[in-house]
Symmetry: C2
Subunit: 256 residues, 2 copies
DNA sequence: ACCTTTCGTTCCGAATATAAGAACATTATT
DNA sequence: AATAATGTTCTTATATTCGGAACGAAAGGT
């Protein structure tokens, strides 16, 4: 097990509570006691007491019909506190809206957490067929423009970790060969942008550029994501506008 | 202390972890170890270990400059899972957008959690001076139209609890007298809507109506919130549109 | 530049909260 | 009606956590 981050002894009971919370996601919003205990390899009684503890504080709620538990409103509340403190988000928002207006495609803002990407904001195009992704969703970095632009600026060490974890195939065009992916990433970093299509979702296309903060590090990826068929003819112009928006956001974040 | 909800013994260590998380809000996003231990009446070592546990799982992050802790991205992630499962929200959204378009004022959707209200969605008017409130923020129920409509449909028992907790004054017009408030609430329930101004924020006005689900219970309050000076002349029409929207939402939720 | 205070972090023995496992209660399924 | 599956409760030994002191580093004042 990877305990590299474990400097001090952690509280096992507390950690277990957090691990239980982490089991809930948009694919699986409800868990029963037995299910959870099987999944985590814990005793039923242990999981049950943990869930009661969580329920008493509103972190989970019991569905009285199914008898199962789902995440409570308290987590929405705390999630919104986090959203508020991500001022990258508030700064980026107006620029994203303008960019969406111009491109008529969905605009996304993504950051890295650990070895994954998380979409922290989006402005969806009003087209009936459009690219859409849930906020807060954790996605691997090796497929899709918005994630690849982020991956390209990672340290070699992190890139290797991601590759070592395995490169999941999303479409027939996903780059799952590690050496080819690394070559692609180098090229992306050289050019300072990433245009890719069909590697994350068929028919989809993404144009992504990095956003920098005052330390000069890449803190986010900004992208226009939509349908290849609509975007391919004027991708140069879309790229230009996307870069303009990212530059403005970076400047507002203190990048020189 | 109120232990009515404490059926089974809860995990103290786990509960402490959750209590620590609850200390973070948009007014205070960063806490130091000593501060927190003073605030919660816990030993520094206890709080420190809890924070390390939380940090290891990404629930809090340490600001390397201030040495203090703030909520981590993991909570944004979980918060978004909660947002996704609140399908009241997805159903209500388009109606709220239409209503905002019509009213040119901010439209809010609020639910009850415990003895407080929480705004779970909003569509802000594009006016430069407009009513605005953060998503996920916990507010008392006795002031403001959106909250009072919710309070009006509560059980007598709950209303008494809220009154017993004390009625905070927000403006000179806030109704802080319990018997007058209760009389107001009865009237609101009779009429099925709430129009109030200046009791939560000076110059502000709210028009709020209830939203029902398939069980026939009030599950949310929908409101138009804006400036009194702009709204007062055509409040009847605004109310009508607000009611129409709420009815449509209720119907979509299965209310007859 | 030095002292003082404050704060985050570590350490260790004592104490107690918790895990483990079984048993019970309740609901669904056959 | 019998069986299976799932949520809940109970009890005790033990391993985790607390409590308190001590350490080191930074901040602030003199």
């Amino acid at each position: 097990m990877d305990n590299s981050s474990k400097k001090t002894a952690i509280l096992e009971t507390g950690d277990r509570i957090l691990r239980i919370l982490e089991c809930f996601n948009s694919e699986k919003t409800e868990w029963g006691v037995t299910e959870l205990s099987d999944y985590l390899g814990l005793y039923k009684s242990v999981v049950h007491r943990a869930l009661v503890t969580l329920e008493n504080r509103g972190f989970v709620t019991k569905n009285p019909i199914s008898q199962k538990y789902f995440l409570g409103i308290k987590l929405f509340e705390l999630g919104m506190v986090v959203a508020g403190q991500m001022n990258l988000r508030t700064i980026a928002r107006p620029f994203m809206e303008d960019l969406c207006e111009f491109a008529k495609e969905t605009v996304m803002l993504m950051i890295i957490d650990g070895l994954d990407g998380i979409c922290i904001d989006k402005v969806e195009s009003s087209q009936s067929v459009r690219y859409t992704t849930p906020l807060g969703k954790r996605v691997p970095l090796h497929a899709g423009a918005t994630t690849k632009i982020l991956m390209a600026y990672l340290s070699e060490e992190k890139i290797n970790k991601i590759v070592a974890r395995g490169l999941k195939r999303f479409t027939p065009y996903t780059v799952c060969d590690s050496s080819e992916l690394i070559k692609q990433l180098q090229l992306i970093k050289e050019k300072g942008y990433c245009i890719s299509s069909n590697d994350f979702s068929l028919g989809g296309m993404g144009i992504a550029v990095p956003v920098y903060d005052y330390t000069g590090n890449v803190v986010a990826g900004l992208s226009i994501s939509g349908l290849e068929i609509r975007m391919r003819e004027n991708k140069e112009q879309l790229l230009l506008e996307c870069q303009k928006a990212a530059d403005r956001i970076s400047k507002r974040l203190g990048a020189r």
